[in-house]
């Protein structure tokens, strides 16, 4: 299994541009998550999904959108990029609720710079 894969690895955006961060997992996990990690800070949950067709907001959802049309894919959309969205974005997945002690598996991250 490849686990959780993310593309691209790095991207530079101009203010106001849009882009989609891709996330795919091949472990047949129901739960998927998007986090952002700012320098020197802990991860913050942006959105999560408990299954295909179901998404919910996390701690910092403003400026982002997600969709979950399949179990495998959970893309994160930035419609109008702002400098405040400069961060490293991590996608994760788990079999079930992380609170049920189901481990979250993280992807390698996407580094985004908005200028």
């Amino acid at each position: 299994n490849a686990g959780v894969t993310q593309t691209p690895k790095f991207r530079i955006l101009k203010i106001g541009q849009s882009m989609t961060l891709q996330c795919t997992q091949d472990m047949n996990h129901n739960y998927m998550y998007w986090y952002r990690q700012d320098p020197g800070m802990g991860l913050k949950l942006i959105y999560y999904s408990v299954g295909a067709g179901i998404t919910d907001k996390g701690e910092v959802p403003n400026g982002y959108n997600v969709s979950r049309s399949t179990t495998e894919d959970f893309p994160l959309r930035l419609e109008l990029a702002a400098p405040s969205q400069t961060s490293v974005y991590f996608c994760a997945s788990s079999i079930g609720l992380a609170v049920a002690q189901e481990t979250q598996y993280f992807g390698p991250g996407t580094r985004l710079l908005v200028l």
């Binding site: 802990g42 991860l43 991590f90 994760a92 992380a98 979250q104 390698p108």
Partner: protein, 113 residues
Amino acid sequence: GENVGLHLPTLSVQEGDNSIINCAYSNSASDYFIWYKQESGKGPQFIIDIRSNMDKRQGQRVTVLLNKTVKHLSLQIAATQPGDSAVYFCAENPSNTGNQFYFGTGTSLTVIP
């Protein structure tokens, strides 16, 4: 957001010594905690977890201690190896937030050969 903080942002230890990384949390409703390891340029990797009905849990070379009275969590790494050099995060899950986790800022552990 939650106040999940670490006492020391950096920690250097000699190879073979034991390491202790600390974490404070502020929400007494938190009932599930995870420690993650993050190597440079990689995503976080699960190390060990603990529920609030326990005060100690052991894994391979790692032990997590939970003190609910003072809302403190620690990660102990026995016989620290160079491969343990990384940033370590704690994360808490308050029982009233569903699937929401709050992460600490991380402690950078450097193992000196």
